[in-house]
């Protein structure tokens, strides 16, 4: 009798295991946000009004500032802008919407901006009114002044303020991008504002340049270049425009990842026969070799702790993403679905990972998942997509997208709901998002 019940017990245990293991492999569409009923905050933005005298050129700038505010704030993951049809305004017999109309249109908050132009400077005053409070109380206001030529930066400053006041997240509108374009005919490194404006060259060496990476202080850019005839890693100091050679070992020197405390780096070097990962100091001096296998190991990415690294390895025959610590120990595989997963980027709070997968479409798509690989969501649906990199707020990403001859850069939120084209120069690729610059 006792033997029989033991057998019974073992069989039912095995049954439970076999039923569960089938479903563990199914991929779970991310429903956390949808199920909690997340709704973006609805913001109405009034036309920028002008105080005092303004030339036609100034009025033009005020109009452009309004455009920038709209583009910034409507793109943000946590906000949506409310627009009003001029036809509807006519029905209300108004030239401009007032607070009651905005409330009817569904706005939670209203942003008012006033511009004042002087000889050299422009001053912007903003105020936010909360339509969910009685009497539509003003909840924030401030004022900024800069030389006229920095009107874009002023507009982005206000957008950052609005995001911070309304959502608690730090704004990304004054952050920058680094990327490659081939507009000169050669692949060179460029930087720009987060929205692709104000493009400035970093390299101009008529060689092949790839993989620019911001350092942890967003003060310099590391990149890989063939300017000396082989792939070496260089560092461009953005303050003094000096370029320093960081790594020039025999073979490949590429794909640097910088630790969040800006004290260490992980480089891909093939000097010992095969592409492996090495931990170095900030100047490129090797501290320790991290991987040692017949496989290709590359594309390292630090976790915010600075003690763990995601990387690509083909040790099982296809490219997959792994994690290990900075001793090279505790190696574990993260991605199991799909034949190819690479180009990992870990979110600034360490909770999510973005990477490239060959998805159900059979092409390269951007995937965002929890750091342990679960809760997997593909956020692109056309073209060849590569190089996802997080913005410092952990809510947005940049990636490159290619259709035929066109290779462009998109920014997006991490659910792929709102996307914005930021660079369509020929051969735009290898994007990277800076940290906060202030």
């Amino acid at each position: 009798m006792k033997a029989q019940s033991i057998v019974f017990f073992i069989i039912s245990l095995l049954m439970m295991v076999s039923i569960n293991s089938g479903s563990a492999q199914r991929f779970e569409i991310w429903s956390e946000i949808e199920s909690s009923g997340f709704e973006p905050i609805k913001l109405a933005i009034n036309q920028v009004s002008i105080r005092g005298e303004a030339s036609p050129e100034d009025s033009g700038i005020a109009e452009k500032i309004y455009r920038v505010l709209n583009d910034d704030l409507d793109f943000h993951f946590v906000l949506d802008t409310v627009m009003i049809d001029p036809f509807i305004l006519k029905l209300w017999e108004k030239d401009e919407p007032d607070l009651f109309i905005w409330k009817q249109m569904g706005a939670d908050h209203v942003l008012n901006v006033t511009a004042e132009f002087s000889e050299e400077k422009i001053r912007l005053d903003y105020s936010l009114q909360n339509l969910r409070l009685q009497s539509f109380r003003e909840t924030a206001s401030d004022s900024y002044r800069l030389d006229r030529q920095y009107w874009r930066y002023l507009a982005h400053t206000i957008s950052d303020e609005v995001v911070e006041r309304l959502t608690g997240y730090k704004g990304i509108f004054r952050t920058r991008l680094a990327f490659i374009t081939a507009k000169t005919g050669n692949k060179e490194v460029y930087i720009s504002d987060y929205d692709g404006y104000n493009v400035q060259p970093v390299t101009n060496n008529d060689s092949i340049n790839i993989s620019p990476v911001w350092d942890a202080k967003s003060e310099s850019i590391l990149y890989t270049s063939w300017k000396r005839g082989q792939p070496d890693i260089w560092e461009a100091d953005l303050k003094d425009s000096e370029h320093k050679l960081i790594a020039s070992y025999p073979g490949i020197n590429s794909a640097p990842a910088i630790s969040p405390n800006n004290r260490e780096m992980v480089l891909t070097l093939s000097k010992d026969g095969n592409a492996e990962l090495y931990l170095t100091d900030r100047k490129g001096k090797i501290k320790r070799r991290l991987t040692n296998s017949f496989a290709i190991e590359t594309s390292p990415a630090f976790a915010p702790s600075g003690r763990e690294i995601a990387f690509t390895s083909d040790r099982t025959g296809g490219r997959q993403i792994y994690m290990m610590d900075t001793e090279g120990l505790n190696v574990r595989r993260i991605t199991y679905l799909g034949s190819m997963n690479e180009s990992a980027s870990i979110s600034p709070d360490g909770s999510k990972i973005a990477y490239v997968t060959i998805g159900p479409r059979g092409s390269f798509d951007i995937c965002v998942a929890d750091i342990n690989g679960s809760n997997y969501k593909i956020i692109t649906d056309s073209g060849f997509n590569e190089n996802p990199r997080w913005a410092p707020d952990g809510l947005h990403l940049i990636y490159s997208s290619q259709w035929g001859d066109r290779s462009v850069l998109y920014i997006s939120d991490y659910l792929g709901l709102k996307k914005r084209l930021v660079c369509n120069q020929p051969g735009s690729s290898n994007p990277c998002w800076s940290g906060y610059l202030r």
């Binding site: 057998v7 089938g22 794909a255 891909t268 590359t298 594309s299 083909d314 034949s339 590569e386």
Partner: protein, 171 residues
């Protein structure tokens, strides 16, 4: 009791079969790239024995060497590449003063970084093969360009095959 155990066993086997392959990661099958014809480079040289002809003193250039082509994501020497490399080895043996640089290249798919390493594997694979054919390793350098230097800017299997190559340059 025995009957109940027997029923349990049947259910267990059924569940096991439905659960599929327990424990192993499911691979999403990747489409094999379509079969590609031999690239039609210099057709008069394909499949022929290397000419053993007395050459006058002529400067060797990279066009005197055949390219070797590779399958997607692979760096092994295919039969057509073997023929190309055997030809190149003959050229090198007849010109012992010449050193070469072997370039490894990839098609545009996949990351810049991985393709850099794969291109290096291809170049090294070619170098190793030439060493086996009797060429001194000290005469050969390797470099990878990853996917950065395609010869064909198309976005189809024909273009991709042309780009998955090793090229020889005079060093």
């Amino acid at each position: 009791m025995k009957k109940a155990l027997f029923v349990l066993l049947i259910i267990f086997i059924g569940a096991f079969l439905m659960g599929g392959t327990c424990g192993g990661p499911q691979e999403v099958p990747m489409e094999e790239p379509p079969e590609v014809e031999q690239p039609a480079e210099e057709p008069e040289k394909e499949g022929q024995e290397p000419e053993v002809v007395e050459r006058p003193e002529v400067e060797l250039t990279s066009t005197d060497f055949e390219k070797a082509y590779f399958d997607f994501d692979k760096y092994n020497i295919r039969p057509d590449a073997r023929t190309a490399l055997e030809y190149n080895a003959e050229v090198l043996k007849r010109h012992p003063e010449v050193d070469i640089l072997i370039e490894g290249h990839c098609d545009e798919r996949g990351t810049v970084e991985y393709n850099l390493a794969l291109g290096e594997r291809r170049a090294n694979s070619v170098k190793d093969y030439l060493v086996k054919l009797g060429i001194d390793a000290s005469r050969m350098r390797t470099i990878s360009y990853g996917k950065e230097r395609p010869v064909d800017l198309g976005h189809n299997e024909v273009a991709w095959q042309k780009n998955r190559r090793a090229e020889f340059k005079i060093d």
